[in-house]
Symmetry: C2
Subunit: 366 residues, 2 copies
């Protein structure tokens, strides 16, 4: 715990190391933390049309009070903004704003704003300092940590992007009070995933406390974000560019991403797709990696209790779903790599899962 009452998680990546601060009221304290992180005096904030009216003015005021000069660029709310078209629109606005290599880019909002702002920061002038100010549970527990940035192509999620680590992450848990409940639940799916792959104790804590988290009790929100960031920081610190360990973060994501892609990024929230994907992956784990059936059931049960979907909708064209999985970045030589669990808290990577195995569990989960 930092002396100011915020929690603090350090992501150790050599000269690219940075701090994640977690607590209520961090947006109001932004200038102090920007100064400590040695950010330049000028920057832009990228926010979507939902988050901009809620928090952009507050962040701008806090930074301007601290002597920073910032301008807000707004994008339409929704996953469709995570496109090359939006990235280009933003990049083409930047030359007139007087930015130089020391200027910063802030991604204020959920995963879409963060991933898009990170891509813009990673490519403008071949890389500007980047700050994440996540305002959704999903972004606070997952997408704002780790340096993955990117946009979608019509054929699949995150197919274009760069690794670009932030200089600072401010996870203001106060912002979660305004988050729609469906999004809160979707973010919670990534917390469930984090416990499932890395920390059985944290998984049990989530089972015990999920109601408090979903009721937005401040202490439980902070603890959920803190532990998820700590785990993700450990995984990313060991494997920044997904050569090995980092792949375990994709538990539930191979099928999840494909479901999202076919829903055209609009029908399912990312966390909802991951919950369905975890149902499939838990079954595959029980069958092919030795996960006790009772532990597989605990994952599905916690998802359901949290109000998350776990069933593959009837509307999906299964051949198209398998095709979408093959486009996944994790595929190597056309062969899918699956993250499976040996037990709760212990993930393994498998490339022994056949198309028939996948079809079987997808049918079971319909």
């Amino acid at each position: 715990m930092a002396s100011d009452g915020n929690k603090r998680v350090r992501v150790k990546l050599g000269e690219r190391s940075y701090e994640i601060l977690i607590g209520r009221g961090l947006i109001e304290q932004a200038a102090t933390h920007f100064t400590v992180a040695k950010l330049g005096k000028r920057g832009i904030i990228i926010a979507d049309t939902t988050v901009e009216p809620l928090y952009a003015d507050k962040l701008v005021a806090a930074l301007e009070d601290g002597g920073f000069s910032v301008k807000v660029l707004t994008i339409p709310a929704g996953e469709l903004s995570k496109s090359l078209r939006q990235a280009n629109r933003l990049l083409e606005k930047l030359p007139s704003l007087g930015l130089d290599r020391h200027s910063f880019v802030v991604g204020l909002g959920g995963g879409v704003a963060g991933d898009l702002a990170g891509f813009v920061a990673g490519t403008y002038l071949r890389g500007l300092p980047f700050v994440q100010v996540p305002t959704t549970l999903l972004a606070q527990v997952d997408s704002s940590v780790g340096g993955k940035t990117g946009v979608n192509l019509p054929q699949g999620k995150n197919l274009v992007g760069v690794f670009h680590q932030p200089r600072l992450v401010l996870a203001d848990t106060g912002t979660l009070q305004t988050l729609p409940v469906r999004e809160l639940r979707a973010g919670f799916a990534e917390a469930i995933k984090t416990g499932a792959i890395y920390d059985a104790k944290f998984f049990s804590w989530l089972e015990k406390n999920y109601r408090r988290v979903l009721r937005r009790e401040p202490a439980e929100l902070v603890e959920t974000v803190r532990r998820c960031c700590e785990i993700k920081a450990a995984v990313v610190g060991a494997d920044e560019r997904e050569g090995g360990l980092r792949a375990i973060l994709n538990f539930g994501h191979t099928i999840g991403h494909a479901l999202e892609a076919l829903a055209d990024f609009t029908g399912l929230l990312h966390g909802e797709a991951v919950a369905i994907g975890m149902n499939c992956a838990a079954r595959l784990s029980a069958r092919h990696a030795g996960l006790p059936v009772v532990e597989a059931q605990r994952i599905v049960k916690l998802c359901k209790a949290s109000g998350l979907p776990v069933v593959v909708g009837a509307g999906y064209n299964l051949p198209a779903l398998y095709e979408a999985m093959r486009l996944d970045k994790k595929a190597v030589g056309g062969r899918l790599r699956f993250v499976l669990l040996k037990r709760l808290g212990k993930a393994v990577i498998s490339d022994a899962i056949t198309d028939a195995d996948i079809e079987e569990v997808v049918h079971e989960c319909r």
Copy 2:
């Protein structure tokens, strides 16, 4: 010298180290060198409409004979292809080609193909292995080495891009036999720059041998490319991301880039703009950094003798030229940083050059 008669320069960047091979017939030997560099079995080649008919079939045949599977994607010839629009067009084609994270992207051609292919390689699936096969003197002596990739915005050159080091560079000097003489001269401008900033002996060698180089004598072409790559490798190896030393490579480029931008990237070749920029920068160096006037004159004389322009055309709107310079990535806090010479072979960075100083030399060079 390698046992196969090729010259070899190693760029030392830790785990991102790679080799530049220089010699005649390297395209025909591509499969061997791709295998040694441990590249995957599948990839794409990006070439423009000028280079594609000359060398793409040859490279494809050489790679397919060696068991590689490659597809050629063509872009229109010319600097206008170095755009976000072209990058997007290429990126959107990739998902249907069955590439995975081990697949490679080859930039075959001049700086435009190399910079654009590098940007595509650096952003697709957050980074694919990249190979440069430069076929212009400019690309062989300069743009294919160092890992800078990118595209232009309407407001300036290379404003969007990433650092993405190649895994291998094959500089087949045989390709220079088909290069239009104007482009050969433009490439030679970067060789003059390289000698001027780093190696007075090499500069003298160029003064003595420029006629042979421009007559495309094979041995002198190889030596020019080899020494330029060696120098650039030393500079980039000491400063991969342009925190310090690397900036000296921009001698002549601050004014040069602005001239290019205002000519809409079509009126002047890059090397021609750099030659004019070097004329201005040599004068600034004599006035503000102690470069002996006789050495400043040698730079201008060698440019002229090589058939390069050294005069700022009458058509330029000077206020627009100064404005374009301010957009330069090298500007910090609105202040321009200039590369000046203390003497031939010894560059320094100066931020003491005023607008009035610049206007003065630009007027002299009109």
